[in-house]
């Protein structure tokens, strides 16, 4: 098998124990791991396959045996839109199951220009070290003076030490104090900007005594049809920008645009205007990763208040959602300070915020006492207190810091007292809580079925949120259209075969409140979205801009196949690509089933309130029939009643060889 264009062609395996490295040709590596690039692409697909081959039983995630895989894909570092992404995977320190996260800025592309598609980090270093990948050379350097340093200082020091010839030449993926102190939800951070969030890989890096990975790449990525690629990419970008009504807002205001879709917060502009008073935006446009037509980072400068003078590149969705919803931080300056602080400390915003939020609930109910909290009265809305707790958690300081550093699942088990029943996690991982009865059913279903535990990013179906009845007067008006118009247009533009559309949405051409409210068709739509996410995570490209964002009319599988064919010279189609997504998702499920035994019994919310009738709003008294929804989902997936992929499904996806040893059910639900 020769290496197709679009791949850099080498694999780097690093043995931290001996501080040694090995460079393998990509085709030989593929052969050892039985990876057919046309079946697994790269990124998440390759990570899944590598972890599948390497782990047959559960391991302690903080054991040196756990390996970190950084995988780019054929899309990465080419001239295709949003090509600055890669995936980083390992065994999750929180759940013990599969974990991976997408990250960007310029580390992934630099890695590919250095000539590597995949980097695998094995073992545990005897002393704190960092690695420098200088094109094809690999250097191991002492990092004891960097230990204890926060994110941006680490980046600066590493770049200075390695003798950067011009700024941005060397890219650094580093961990911060939270990773060093083995806080269970710490992501590494690429140049203090983009983190593979939710992956917990920072904790694993900390357990390996690995402070940072730096890379300098000066090479090129070959292409099958460069001019064709440029033309297809140009068309894709143009149609994305013209078709998607929210992109224009997004490019100007960043993630705050999504307030309308994600929050019960009207996007009337009031907040944005107020922000301009309190904060300055020295750039007129957002800032983004490589080749991004709709960048999401906002360069912010706080002008008023306590944090006057603070500068930060961010303003991100997760922070915004957790700050306003779960932490009650209202002031803009405090919100940005919190975001910057968590990035500096290396804490996952969703996990930390949900853990804190849970701790407040426990405190209010008397499940946590002043003795447990080191004398602090926990509450929402107090930014200073929350930041203080974040620091204690990152350093595992005091009783409270140590308790919350393990996350909701472990903390609730440790304190007991009924706190398990209000702990917002699935399979041990926190998720940003949305009540499926009041809000999005598909969103919550995604948290249940996600291969990396309670998490919404492997699903991310915003259809219900976008066309939610309460939202009709807010952001749809903002873009100057009626709900029916937007719904109709979006339905037309949705990159999905007509037959499937009919199955999911029925014949209705208008916003169907009944459809929004009922679970009908949603399992099918969820399956489609999950496959799509697995697909673009393997290419690897970004979620923002894909057909899972905004009104779900972004870049879809049709465009993906068109551009991928220009990069690699293959002849893939819509169906083949979606099947790749399906294959990857199924193997992730099987992986978790094999090492952790996760099946139907684990697809549950720990928080029992999810199963109780809604307490308020127009859906008061409503209950979601979770078991029925899940059973329908299993049936569509081709899984058994217990939520395990069946033999027939495995055969259909060409996974037969790999899964022979497993005793899989025959009967589809």
């Amino acid at each position: 098998m020769s290496i197709p264009p679009g791949y850099a062609g080498k694999v780097l395996i690093i043995y931290l124990d001996h501080e040694a490295s090995e460079i393998l040709p990509l085709d030989r590596f593929w052969k050892t791991y039985e990876i057919d690039p046309q079946k697994w692409l790269g990124g998440d697909g390759v990570i899944t396959k590598i972890l599948w081959e390497d782990y047959h039983t559960a391991i302690d995630p903080l054991d040196p045996e756990n390996e970190i895989v950084i995988a780019t894909g054929p899309w990465t570092a080419t001239a295709a839109p949003q090509s600055g992404r890669a995936m980083l995977g390992c065994i999750d320190p929180k759940t013990g199951g599969f974990s991976s996260g997408s990250f960007g800025w310029f580390f992934p592309s630099m890695l590919k220009y250095a000539g590597f598609d995949i980097v695998i980090l094995k073992g545990k270093a005897k002393r704190p070290i960092y690695i420098f990948i200088d094109d094809q050379k690999v250097l191991f350097r002492d990092a004891s003076h960097l230990w204890g340093k926060e994110t941006s200082e680490t980046v600066r020091m590493v770049r200075e030490e390695l003798g950067e010839r011009y700024e941005g030449e060397i890219r650094v993926l580093s961990i911060s104090v939270a990773g060093e102190h083995l806080v269970k939800y710490s992501p590494p951070c690429s140049d203090g900007t983009s983190c593979p969030g939710r992956s917990g890989a920072g904790t694993v890096m900390g357990s390996k005594n690995l402070k940072a990975v730096a890379v300098r790449g000066t090479g090129e990525v070959s292409l099958f049809d460069p001019h064709g690629l440029l033309d297809s990419s140009y068309l894709a970008i143009k149609s994305l920008i013209e078709k998607e009504p929210l992109i224009k807002l997004w490019r100007e205001y960043g993630a705050t645009t999504s307030l309308g879709t994600a929050m019960d917060w009207p996007i009337s502009g009031a907040m944005l205007v107020k922000n301009r008073e309190e904060a300055d935006f020295p750039h007129l446009k957002n800032v983004g990763c490589l080749d991004c037509p709709n960048p999401c980072y906002h360069w912010l400068q706080i002008k008023k208040g306590k944090y006057s003078g603070l500068r930060h590149l961010g303003g991100h969705m997760t922070f915004l959602t957790v700050c306003l919803r779960n932490l009650g931080i209202q002031e803009f300056g405090e919100w940005i300070y919190f975001e910057r602080l968590l990035q500096e400390l290396g804490l996952d915003p969703a996990s930390f915020s949900m853990t804190y939020s849970w701790a407040v609930d426990c405190f209010e109910r008397g499940m946590l006492t002043l003795e447990d909290t080191d004398g602090m009265t926990l509450k929402r809305g107090d930014a200073e207190l929350i930041c203080e707790v974040a620091r204690r958690v990152a350093y595992r300081q005091g009783k409270l810091g140590d308790l919350l550093a393990d996350g909701v699942a472990e903390a609730s088990q440790r304190i007991g007292r009924g706190s398990e029943r209000i702990a917002p996690h699935v399979k041990g991982k926190e998720y940003i809580q949305r009540d499926a009865k009041v809000q999005a059913l598909m969103w919550s279903l995604g948290a249940l079925t996600s291969p990396r535990g309670g998490d919404w990013l492997r699903h991310h179906n915003v259809w219900e949120l976008a066309f939610f009845p309460e939202k009709r007067d807010t952001y749809l008006k903002w873009i100057g259209k009626t709900c029916t118009e937007v719904y109709k247009e979006s339905l037309e533009r949705l990159d999905m075969p007509e037959g499937l559309k009919k199955k999911i949405f029925g014949d209705s051409q208008r916003v169907d409140l009944e459809w929004i409210e009922s679970p009908k068709g949603k399992a099918l739509f969820s399956v489609w979205t999950e496959n799509l996410v697995a697909l673009f995570n393997s290419l690897v490209t970004c979620m923002f801009g894909s057909a899972t964002m905004f009104l779900m009319v972004g870049i879809g599988p049709t465009t993906y196949s068109e551009i991928l064919n220009k990069i690699t010279g293959w002849n893939t189609s819509y169906d083949e690509l979606m099947r790749i997504g399906d294959r990857i998702f199924n193997l992730q499920r099987l992986f978790n089933y094999r090492i952790k035994g996760w099946d139907h019994k684990d697809d549950t919310f720990a928080d029992q309130r999810a199963y109780e009738p809604a307490q308020m709003g127009i859906y008061k008294g409503r209950v979601v029939p979770w078991n029925e929804v899940l059973q329908e989902y299993y049936r569509i997936r081709g899984w058994s009643k217990e939520g395990v992929p069946t033999k027939a499904k495995i055969e259909e996806l060409d996974l037969g060889e790999a899964t022979k040893a497993l005793d899989l059910p025959e009967e589809i639900n």
Partner: protein, 176 residues
């Protein structure tokens, strides 16, 4: 001769995505890279290296051939390999004549000419025959392709509008 146009850059609109660079290398080299691009975005990423309350900036700037009227690269070339394209006014390297001495690189005050050791060629912006790919792919609108005698308009327009806004703010403040 057609009207001579040049690439104009507005740093405030730049999103730092470097699509100009990947498009450039893809179009000319047939493979994507940042190091072999004829256009270069210089970056200062203050956000990534400054401590929390330290003031720093995030700045992008452009380095590419300015298509000078008095081109030092052309003067210094001993092989007379740099020629002016009569259609676009771009200074082009005639690779049949080029001897690879890299004297043009010495001459360029901006460092806009680079050397590709794999292909044994000097690379410089030749305006893609009048349709620059970098400008085509600049979605944020930071790069524009304008006639030489209008190339100041972008900066002037922005500066002027800012000045007016500043003035209005002052007047508003006084009237309150």
């Amino acid at each position: 001769m057609a009207e001579e146009k040049v690439i104009v850059f507005d740093p405030l609109y730049c999103s730092g995505c470097m699509y100009c660079m990947t498009a450039c290398s893809t179009y000319h080299q047939g493979s994507t890279s940042l190091s072999k691009s004829r256009i270069h975005i210089v970056r200062h990423e203050g956000h990534a290296i400054a401590n929390m309350m330290e003031e720093d900036h995030l700045i992008f700037d452009l380095i590419t051939c300015q298509q000078c009227d008095q081109p030092y690269c052309q003067y210094l070339c001993p092989a007379l390999a740099i020629e002016k394209d009569p259609m676009t006014g771009a200074l082009k390297v005639n690779h049949d004549r080029c001897i690879g001495c890299r004297m043009c690189m010495v001459g360029c005050p901006f460092g806009a000419i680079l050397y590709d050791s794999n292909r044994k060629q000097v690379l410089k912006c030749e305006l893609c025959g009048g349709e620059p790919q970098c400008v085509r792919f600049c979605i944020s609108g930071a790069l524009k392709f304008l006639p030489k005698d209008l190339s100041h308009l972008v900066q002037r327009d922005r500066f002027g509008r800012e000045k007016i806004r500043h003035h209005f703010k002052k007047v508003e403040g006084e009237s309150r």
